[in-house]
């Protein structure tokens, strides 16, 4: 992200090429233009070197202290950070907006690695509720189980849980992929708006309830369909995408994806066909 930085720090929105006029009255927005990248400053990001590695023991730190320390290490150029003894603490590793190899040797509590945009995260344990909420980009791999609201409102990236997850996985999902190696609880994909959810195991009741868009693939049994969710035929594109994604997710070797159940929204919402420009991502 180094080439995106500028020394001219105006307001964050202005330096991102947005809001070309004072925000009074009707707002005029200008979306991010890649041609203007040299003027783009993504506030809170750092140039890091993946080969520069360090460890951080957070056993005696609260989450604020631990997150500040991670930020400090990134500002020093560390691109691979191993967190020791997270011990189920909440809100660790949140708000990381640049590339980073972040490894947690243990489990996280609530809201772990939320609002991230770019890092590669591996949790060698379990995560609590709302892991990776609002994730924009990157890859998060959970080696064990996850709590409820896994990947709530994510907009992009790959979020993978090799074990099972709780209820409301992918609630309000707006993009990206959520891939579950085990089972998922009730209300998976609740109010899902875009993106894809893949569950290799069984899923609970009310799958895809009130979903607007997006696709859910289920390998096992389905407790029940939610309101507006219906089964759709698998296509060759689906199969190829699933094979590719499961490889990325490091799970489901030899899993016969062609036998999965595909679930989509059965109701087209009024005025819901104007796709959101991906460029807008950086401005949100």
């Amino acid at each position: 992200m180094a080439n995106l930085k500028t020394t001219d720090k105006k307001t964050k929105a202005q330096s991102m090429g947005m809001h070309t006029e004072v925000l009074t009255g009707k707002t005029q927005q200008k979306f991010f233009n890649p041609d203007e990248a040299e003027n783009f400053y993504y506030w809170g990001t750092y140039d890091v070197d993946f080969n520069k590695r360090t460890e951080l023991d957070v056993k005696n730190m609260d989450c604020k202290e631990a997150n500040k320390k991670i930020d400090d290490l990134m500002s020093e150029g560390y691109g691979t950070i191993v967190i020791k003894n997270p011990q189920g603490k909440h809100s660790l590793g949140v708000g990381i907006l640049n590339k980073l190899n972040l490894i947690f040797e243990g489990s996280l509590g609530y809201f772990g690695v939320g609002s991230i945009d770019g890092p590669m995260v591996r949790v060698n344990g379990r995560v609590g509720w709302s892991c990776a909420e609002n994730m924009m980009a990157g890859k998060v791999v959970i080696e064990k189980n996850a709590g409820s609201c896994f990947g709530a409102a994510i907009r992009g990236g790959d979020l993978i849980c090799k074990g099972s997850v709780g209820a409301r996985t992918g609630i309000d999902q707006k993009g990206g992929s959520i891939i579950i190696g085990g089972d998922a609880g009730a209300f998976t994909g609740f109010m899902m708006q875009r993106g894809r959810i893949v569950i290799l195991g069984d899923v609970g009741i009310n799958l895809g309830d009130s979903m607007y868009d997006g696709i859910i693939y289920v390998g096992g049994t389905i407790g029940s369909f939610g309101s507006d969710a219906i089964e759709a035929p698998m296509t060759q594109n689906d199969i190829e995408w699933l094979i590719r994604k499961l490889k990325v997710a490091e799970i489901g070797d030899n899993f016969d994806v062609s036998k999965m159940t595909k679930v989509v929204a059965g109701k087209k919402l009024w005025n819901y066909d104007a796709l959101e420009p991906t460029e807008k991502k950086g401005a949100i």
């Binding site: 909440h90 609590g128 074990g163 709780g166 009730a186 609970g204």
Partner: protein
């Protein structure tokens, strides 16, 4: 919000008082108003242990009416008189605080009649009766209550506890958890959530002779299960019926002298993290509760919607 925690050692005794204190203290942020413990202790099993209160803690943060402490002695004397009339023998008595007592008693008749007689004394509430159950609840966080009642040395097989954030009723002992499963010996309940058909259920249960001591919606679970068991249901059957009989969002634990159970509503709206091994089950609203007694890497999971589990010691 509230936080709940529970653990059961299978096949051995452990320092459950200290363990539960650690778990509940880790959940303090979920409920700082009051803390309660239901510990299943290593007692001789010969006599009943009755814990009761004759007044409220009117200290900082309490919503109770301030009373003159002198009235407590009068109530205690009336309890003693009623015990004598019931034919119960006090083997040992301990005054724990100005407003609460622990009695060991010999008694072999109906516990419902017994409880009604004791609780006929104004402001007196039996917190628990049982041969192994030691139910303690008071205002303050887990450590405060643990220190006040010397719980850190309690040896036992299992226990459940609660850190309460008062929402549906006042900050007082009568609304604090756990709730005793009146009139059954050694039954206790803790709950995280809100019950929305409390009054309908309460009216129906009161008409069947069940008693409520508070206006805390969580008390309904204890009474609901007690009524099912009174009619011959097993604990697990009662818990399964609660999934449809109780409306709202809830995760609750119930314990008896030899078992520990959990139930989660059909929306799975309230959190629960569970660790299970051959010799120990530990669970809590958040993983940090479990981590406070098991810092090593372990595998935990979230039970699903409508799930009921019961473990034996």
């Amino acid at each position: 919000m509230c936080g709940i925690a529970g653990l059961i050692h299978r096949g051995k005794y452990s320092n459950v008082g200290e363990e539960l204190q650690s778990m509940l203290q880790a959940l303090k942020h979920r409920g700082p108003d009051s803390t309660g413990y239901a510990l299943y202790a290593k007692n001789d099993g010969q006599n009943f242990i009755m814990r009761f209160k004759v007044g409220e803690n009117v200290g900082e943060g309490s919503t109770s009416v301030n009373e003159d402490v002198s009235v407590y002695d009068g109530r205690k004397k009336l309890v003693d008189k009623n015990l004598s009339e019931l034919g119960a023998t006090i083997v040992k008595e301990e005054k724990l605080t100005p407003y609460s007592y622990r009695y060991e008693i010999k008694y072999d008749k109906d516990l419902m009649d017994f409880s009604k007689k004791i609780e006929s004394v104004e402001m007196v509430e039996i917190l628990s009766i049982g041969k192994s159950l030691e139910l303690i609840k008071d205002l303050g966080d887990a450590k405060t209550v643990c220190d006040r009642y010397n719980l850190d040395k309690v040896q036992g097989t299992h226990g459940i506890g609660h850190a309460r954030m008062a929402t549906e009723s006042g900050v007082d002992i009568k609304s604090a958890h756990p709730f005793w499963g009146y009139p059954f010996a050694d039954v206790s309940v803790v709950h995280n959530g809100q019950l929305t058909n409390y009054w309908n259920n309460r009216r129906a249960l009161e008409n069947k002779g069940m008693r409520f001591m508070s206006e805390c919606d969580s008390e309904l679970i204890a009474v609901f299960l007690a009524e099912k068991m009174r009619n011959g249901a097993t604990l697990e059957e009662g818990m399964k019926e609660s999934l449809t009989g109780l409306d709202g969002v809830f995760t609750y634990f119930v314990a008896t002298k030899d078992s520990l159970g959990m139930a989660k509503d059909t929306m799975a709206a309230k959190p629960l993290v569970l660790y299970e091994s051959d010799d120990l089950v530990a669970m809590g609203s958040e993983e940090i509760a479990i981590r406070s007694i098991l810092p090593q890497e372990i595998t935990t999971y979230d039970p699903y919607d409508g799930e009921v589990k019961v473990w034996q010691i």
